[in-house]
Subunit: 410 residues, 2 copies
C-alpha cells in the first residue's frame, strides 16, 4: 500500500469512527460526487466493518448538474426534491447517520442566471426544512468531509502544473484533518478537548454581547441569555458523539436575532451555490441586514439575503483564531468547510438549536421566543483577520478582551 493509499484509508476510517461515528445496526447515507468514488468505497468498507446495516450512497456528477442550469426550462427549478427529503427525514427519525463528501467546483455555476440558482436554493431549502431542523438539533449524527476534485484543485492551486493540483490538495486536506499524524483518531480527541476548554471559558463568562473591530468592521452582536458555546463534538439524540465538520477549528454560539448592529466586512471569498461572492459588506440595524454591498456576486448575495424573513438576520457566531492550522497553510479553499475554519465567521440565516439551553427539544415558537433566528438559509461567511479585535461585554457593561490581533486573548 502506498503512503497515499494508507492515508486515504485512515481518512475513511476517521470519517466513520470520529465523523459520523457509525454504530452497529445503523443506516449510513453518503452524498458524494463521482470523483470521490475511490474514497467513498473505503468509507463504505469501514462503515460495514463498524456494523452498519446498510450504507446507501448517492452519487452526483457536476457536469450533469450544470447541464440542468444551462439547458432545462425555467420550471425545472420549481421541482422540489421531495422524495430525497422524505428519505432523509426517515433516516433522522430512525437514528441513522449522514455523511456528505464534498468536492465541489467553486465555479460550477459561474455565468448561470442567478435567479435560477436562488430558485433552486429556495425550493430545496423548503423541501429539506424538516430534515435541516433535525440536523441542526442533532437528531441524527452527521458529518461533512472533503475530497479533491480536478476542478476544485485547479481553482485552489492555479499555479501548479495540472498533474500536481489534486495531489497538492490531498496533502493539504490530509494535514487539515490530521490524517498525516500517526494516530488521527487520538489526535482528534486531543483537539476536541482543546476546543472544548475554550467553549467552557466562554460559557463561564456568559457575555451579554461581543464587539468586533477591524478594518471595515465595527459590529456588536448581542447573545441570547441562555446561549451556549459549542465546539467540535456533538451528541446525537441517541447519545452518540460525532464531529459534524472535518476539519473544525471553531467555537460557536447563536446570535440574539434582533441584537446585531453595525457593519461587517468579509475577509475571504464565499463560494455559494456554485458562484463566488467576494469583498462584501453587510450593515445591520436591530439585527436586520439593511444594506448589502459586494465587489463580486452582489446580485447572488442580495438574493440570498432576500430568500426569506430569517435570511435577513444572523444565526451563528463563530470564533476561530487567525493562526489556526488551516489559516497558517495560507491556502484559500473557496470552500466554507475549510475557509470558515481559518477565520472568525458568522452565518446568515438559521441558528443551531443546540446553541441555547434546552434548544434541541424546543418548538419553532419557543426557539423564536428565546431570540434565535430561523431561516431556510444557513450560509457561513468569513470576517476574521490578523487585525481583528473582539471584546466580550459583560452584563454590567464592562469589556474584556476575547480576541486581540486575530487570536484568542485568554
Amino acid at each position: 500500500m502506498s503512503d497515499f493509499q494508507a492515508n486515504l484509508n485512515k481518512y475513511a476510517e476517521l470519517a466513520v469512527k470520529v465523523g459520523v461515528n457509525v454504530q452497529p445496526g445503523q443506516i449510513l447515507m453518503i452524498d458524494a460526487g463521482v470523483e470521490s468514488l475511490e474514497y467513498v468505497r473505503l468509507v463504505v468498507k469501514h462503515a460495514y466493518a463498524a456494523g452498519a446495516k446498510l450504507v446507501k450512497v448517492n452519487l452526483s456528477d457536476e457536469a450533469i448538474t450544470r447541464m440542468r442550469y444551462d439547458l432545462a426550462p425555467d420550471d425545472s427549478f420549481e421541482i422540489a426534491p421531495k422524495w430525497t427529503a422524505a428519505e432523509r427525514e426517515e433516516l433522522a427519525e430512525n437514528g441513522g447517520a449522514m455523511l456528505a463528501v464534498v468536492s465541489n467546483n467553486p465555479d460550477l455555476l459561474k455565468g448561470v442566471d442567478s435567479s435560477r440558482i436562488s430558485a433552486m436554493q429556495k425550493v430545496s431549502g423548503e423541501a429539506f426544512s424538516k430534515y435541516r431542523e433535525y440536523a441542526q438539533s442533532n437528531k441524527l449524527a452527521w458529518s461533512i468531509v472533503a475530497v479533491p476534485s480536478a476542478a476544485w484543485a485547479a481553482k485552489v492551486f492555479p499555479d501548479l502544473p495540472e498533474n500536481e493540483q489534486v495531489p497538492a490538495m490531498w496533502e493539504a486536506i490530509f494535514k487539515a484533518v490530521r490524517v498525516d499524524l500517526p494516530d488521527p483518531v487520538a489526535a482528534w480527541q486531543q483537539h476536541i478537548d482543546t476546543l472544548n476548554a475554550k467553549a467552557a471559558y466562554l460559557n463561564e463568562k456568559k457575555y451579554k454581547a461581543l464587539h468586533y473591530t477591524a478594518p471595515g468592521t465595527d459590529l456588536t452582536i448581542e447573545l441570547p441569555k441562555t446561549h451556549l458555546w459549542v465546539a467540535a463534538d456533538s451528541e446525537s439524540e441517541r447519545g452518540t458523539a460525532f464531529v459534524a465538520n472535518m476539519p473544525t477549528e471553531e467555537v460557536f454560539t447563536a446570535a440574539l436575532k434582533t441584537g446585531v448592529s453595525g457593519t461587517v466586512s468579509s475577509t475571504k471569498p464565499l463560494s455559494y451555490g456554485g458562484t463566488i461572492i467576494d469583498n462584501f459588506t453587510l450593515t445591520f440595524e436591530k439585527g436586520r441586514i439593511v444594506d448589502v454591498k459586494a465587489e463580486q456576486g452582489e446580485d447572488t448575495l442580495k438574493r440570498l439575503v432576500e430568500m426569506d424573513e430569517g435570511s435577513h438576520y444572523i444565526g451563528e457566531v463563530a470564533l476561530v483564531p487567525h493562526k489556526s492550522p488551516i489559516s497558517e497553510s495560507g491556502i484559500l479553499y473557496y470552500n466554507t468547510l475549510f475557509d470558515e475554519n481559518a477565520s472568525n465567521h458568522l452565518a446568515i440565516g438559521s441558528a443551531y438549536a443546540f446553541n441555547i439551553e434546552g434548544g434541541t427539544t424546543m418548538s419553532r415558537e419557543e426557539l423564536a421566543e428565546a431570540g434565535i433566528n430561523q431561516s431556510l438559509a444557513h450560509v457561513d461567511f468569513m470576517i476574521g483577520s490578523a487585525d481583528m479585535n473582539i471584546d466580550g461585554i459583560a452584563e454590567d457593561g464592562t469589556a474584556e478582551p476575547v480576541f486581540r490581533g486575530g487570536s484568542w486573548a485568554f
Copy 2:
C-alpha cells in the same frame, strides 16, 4: 469528433428519440452505473434538447453493491427501497419516462450466498410491484439500453487483450442497435415495421397453442383467447411511442397461465441477480413448474421459481429467429437484453398486460380471469436454437409451421 465519439453521440440521441422518446415538459429518470457516465452525460444533453423538464440520474457503483452482499448483516436484506419505489410510481403517474442504462458484470455476485440474493430480489420485487405494474401496462415510456463496463466486456471477450475488450464490446453494441448505420433513427423505423408485420400475421392466425420441439424440449404452450402479439414499439398511456428494449428482435405474447405442459431446455446461460444459471431444464404440468434441474446455479434457479406463487408459471412467450443479427454475431453477452434477442425465449413470472386485449386497463383480478400470470418475478430465459421447430395449433386442432430449423416458417 472521433468515430467513436460520433457513434456514442448517435447512440445517446437514439435512446432519447426512439428509446424513451422524450417529450417537451417531461421528467426523465435514468438508472446507470458509474462506468457509463460519459454516455449518460450525452443522453442528458439530448434529453434537455428534446425539451425534458428535468433529467434525474441515479448513479450506482457495483463495487459498493458487492460490499453490501459481502459485509452487511443479514437484516440488511430486509430493507425495502420504498422511497425509490414511491418516486418511480409518481414518475409513472405524472407521465414521466425511465431509461435504464445497463452495464452489469454478469459475475458481480459470484460466490454470494444465494439466500441473500433471493431475499434482495424478493424485497425489491415487492417494493417495486406497483411500479412494475405501471411499466408492464405502459403507463410510462421506458427503455433499456446497454453500455460496456470493463468487467462485462472481460466476460464476453475473455480471449482479447484487456485494452481491446471494451472497444470490441462497443463495436458489437453499436452494430446490434444499428448505430453503425448512417441514419439509425430511420433504420429503427424500418426494423419496427418488419417486426410488426410478423406480429400482424400471428394476430391474424390467433393460434390456440404453440408446440415446441428441439433436443431436450417438447413443450406445448396454450395462449389466452384474447392474446395479442406485440413487437418492438409500444405506446405509453399518454400516447407516446417508445421502444422498451434496444436492441429488440422479438415478437411476443402472453402464455395461458395453466396451459403449459412438457419440458423445455435452456440454450444459453442466464445471468440472474449477478450469478450465472446454465444448462437447465424445466418441466411443466398444467402450467406449473414441477421440476427444475440445472448444471450450474440450480439453487439460485430454484429460489427464483419459489419466489411467489406466480413465479411457478410462465408469463411471456417470445419468438426470435435463430438467424437474428445478434445471434449471427456469435457473441454470448451474458445479458438478457442481448441474449433474449438472439433466441426464442420464455419468461418465468408475470405477463405483460398489453399482451391481451384491453389488458392495460384491467384490474389484477380481471387479468387473472383472462388467464395471464402475475408475479413479482419476470425473468426471461433462452430456449431457441437452429434445431427448434414450432407449430401453431389452430382452434380446430390442425398444426401449421411457425418456426422451422430455428427460423420463421412464413
